[in-house]
């Protein structure tokens, strides 16, 4: 049995991470990390550079194996999966999608094809050989294209998109997978204010239907989307709670927000 955080005794959890450590050549990137995510929750994770935020996502997605501790995904049918034992593509097939910190899209494919390849369809080698696009698939893709506002660029090569559009495309690729959990690493990086606001709206609209973990640095953006915020510091959860409470916490201000935080705390 997994032990639930007492805070969440009555709500269904989708993800429980407890007691996870990860060292790289003696450097402790993740240190006794405990993290619980509710079904349908939108969680923002913040922390200074090198706090271990991306490494945390690496662990959730099977890219990095934890040294110890447990990482459990609670499927809706009551099954629990130990993510530390699964490979990346298996974890993805469970319904955990990830957007990388640096946009990673297929630059020599069209925007449309980027989405086709992301659809949640049989993904074996042979099945890919005989795959035919169905009207359903096309409809899903067009919906996603509309959501990410790239309908008029669908036949352009993804490599020709602007940085912000690439970020959107990658989010769209996640949506096409229809995942249960979306892990989103710095979605607003490199976006204009307007683009980043729209991104925030998009993420908010996904809440409830999906569970989300969003890593972000941009305070304006966090203010827009923040529900519950978790502060990571040196691979450990320093604080979590409502954004307003966290941002005025002296310890958090000290390690992370610095002067920027003080400013926003006083406004």
């Amino acid at each position: 049995m997994i032990h639930h955080d007492p805070l969440y005794k009555d709500t269904p959890l989708i993800l429980s991470v407890s007691g996870v450590d990860k060292s790289f050549d003696g450097f402790k990137a993740i240190n006794d990390l405990n993290f619980y995510l509710e079904e349908g929750e939108l969680r923002t994770v913040i922390g200074p550079n090198g706090a271990g935020k991306s490494t945390f996502m690496d662990i959730l997605t099977g890219r990095t194996k934890p040294d110890c501790g447990s990482v459990v995904f609670h499927d809706s049918d009551g099954h629990d999966y130990n993510l530390a034992k699964l490979r990346e593509f298996e974890i993805n097939r469970l319904g955990i999608g990830r957007k990388f910190q640096t946009p990673s899209i297929y630059k020599s494919h069209t925007v449309y094809d980027n989405l086709v390849l992301s659809l949640d369809r049989p993904r074996g080698a042979f099945q890919s050989l005989i795959y035919r696009e169905s009207p359903d698939d096309r409809e899903i893709i067009h919906d996603v294209l509309k959501t990410i506002r790239l309908s008029d660029r669908k036949q352009d090569l993804a490599g020709s998109l602007s940085h912000g559009q690439k970020q959107w495309l990658e989010i769209g690729m996640l949506l096409a997978q229809n995942p249960r959990i979306l892990l989103i690493d710095e979605p607003a990086a490199g976006m204009s204010d307007e683009e980043s606001e729209r991104t925030g709206e998009l993420l908010l609209s996904l809440e409830k239907k999906h569970s989300l973990i969003v890593i972000e640095h941009d305070m304006e953006f966090i203010r827009q989307i923040a529900r519950k915020v978790t502060v990571l510091h040196q691979g450990h959860v320093l604080k979590d709670g409502a954004f307003d409470k966290v941002k005025s916490d002296p310890e958090v201000i000290e390690v992370y927000l610095g002067r920027q935080g003080e400013k926003s705390a006083t406004t």
Partner: protein, 390 residues
């Protein structure tokens, strides 16, 4: 110019994914036209040899038939590397090994077909007599059968690729580490084949072939048949490559090249995709090697040195990496240049080759095919002809 641009030429017109479709060429009239044209043009070589004049500009000697036949097998070899390097982003440096393995498998059959017509007039191949063998090693026996040998031509390189690829991809060996490791494999195999006690003829390899399926290899007609088979293999390799690229499998291949992480985080096991492509590519290279050996008349371990694998990389780079016809053009152009330069400037071939490579890397990242498209795009009024998906 970035690699992705070149691909844009092939996907001007949106094409729906319809699953594997061997007749897919018929969807694209221009492509099938070009395809047939190349086939017909190539058939002119044996045609002129058989029925053309004996002298003058239109004369095609038997030497030229087998020379061009050799170039065609090189072109197929280049296509097999392009499948890996151009379309999947795996710079594999053991393509010459697969090619030579295919060649050795066919060579074993050809050696046994010499029978007692060798220098020692013994049923055993000459080198075995010379080394004091009294009976044929067991693993040689099945190679009396042409069909067994033909299957081995595909399966032995395929199996080597399957096992090696499984170990390498599962351990997540990528990028330059993959290249180094494949080069090490080639080198190790090469050293092994140089040994006399490995039963493959040591550094002399196999030669002095007499006939295959009862056809005398010294006859012009046999060389013409081999040439035609090489053309067919080239066209088959082309159909396989383009057929694959038109499916979702092929798109995933290119996606792995662009962002392998994204592919595995979209639920695909990149290991199995890479393994399949690696094995397929090794089999294509093996088939090319099997046609190379009877046309050239010799196979020895110098065919599988790491330097030979690097040659293939140069052909693909010069012709245009990640383009359908680039490797074919590159293999033929570089080899024509080589046969010219080794006669005109015998000592400077490697300098010329090195300079060619540097020029291509610095100024023509998409090789000759990229240059062609660049020149084309300078004349927009002709853009309606844009045509060939080279």
């Amino acid at each position: 110019m970035e690699a992705w641009r070149i691909v844009s030429y092939s996907f001007k017109k949106p094409r729906r994914l319809t699953g594997i479709n061997w007749m897919y060429l018929s969807d694209n009239k221009k492509e099938i036209g070009l395809f047939l044209m190349i086939g017909v043009l190539l058939m002119l070589i044996p045609g002129m040899n058989a029925w053309g004049p004996d002298s003058g500009v239109f004369a095609v000697s038997s030497f030229q038939v087998s020379l061009w036949g050799k170039y065609l097998t090189y072109a197929v070899l280049a296509m097999s590397l392009n499948l890996l390097w151009g379309y999947t982003g795996l710079l594999c440096l053991c393509q010459s090994l697969f090619f030579a393995l295919g060649g050795y498998m066919m060579g074993m059959h050809l050696m046994l077909m010499i029978g007692e017509r060798g220098a020692y007039q013994n049923v055993l191949p000459d080198f075995m007599v010379f080394l004091g063998y009294t009976e044929l090693p067991t693993h040689w026996v099945p190679f009396y059968s042409f069909w067994f040998s033909s299957v081995a031509v595909l399966c032995v390189p395929g199996l080597v690729a399957l096992v090696f690829g499984f170990l390498a991809f599962r351990s997540r060996i990528k990028g330059v580490y993959f290249s180094i490791l494949t080069q090490a494999l080639t080198y190790a195999a090469c050293l092994l084949f140089f040994r006399n006690d490995f039963t493959f003829g040591g550094n002399n390899g196999f030669t002095d072939f007499k006939d295959v399926l009862g056809l005398d290899l010294n006859l012009a007609s046999t060389q013409r048949i081999l040439f035609i088979l090489s053309v067919l293999l080239l066209l088959l390799a082309y159909v396989i490559t383009s057929g694959l690229l038109a499916t979702k499998f092929g798109k995933i291949q290119q996606a792995i090249r662009d962002s392998e992480n994204r592919v595995s985080f979209s639920g695909y096991s990149t290991t199995s995709f890479k393994l399949i492509i690696f094995t397929l590519s090794a089999m294509i290279a093996g088939a090319a090697g099997a046609l190379y050996v009877p046309q050239v008349g010799i196979i020895n371990p110098s065919e599988m040195t790491p330097a030979k694998s690097l040659d293939v990389v140069v052909w693909v780079a010069v012709g245009g990496r990640g383009t359908k016809w680039g490797p074919v053009i590159g293999a033929i152009v570089v080899n024509l240049l080589k046969s010219f330069a080794t006669r005109a400037y015998p000592d400077s071939w490697f300098i010329i080759l090195g300079m060619l490579f540097v020029i291509v890397v610095l100024f023509l990242p998409d090789g000759i095919v990229g240059l062609y498209h660049k020149i084309r795009s300078k004349f927009p009024q002709k853009a309606s002809l844009k045509a060939i998906t080279a």
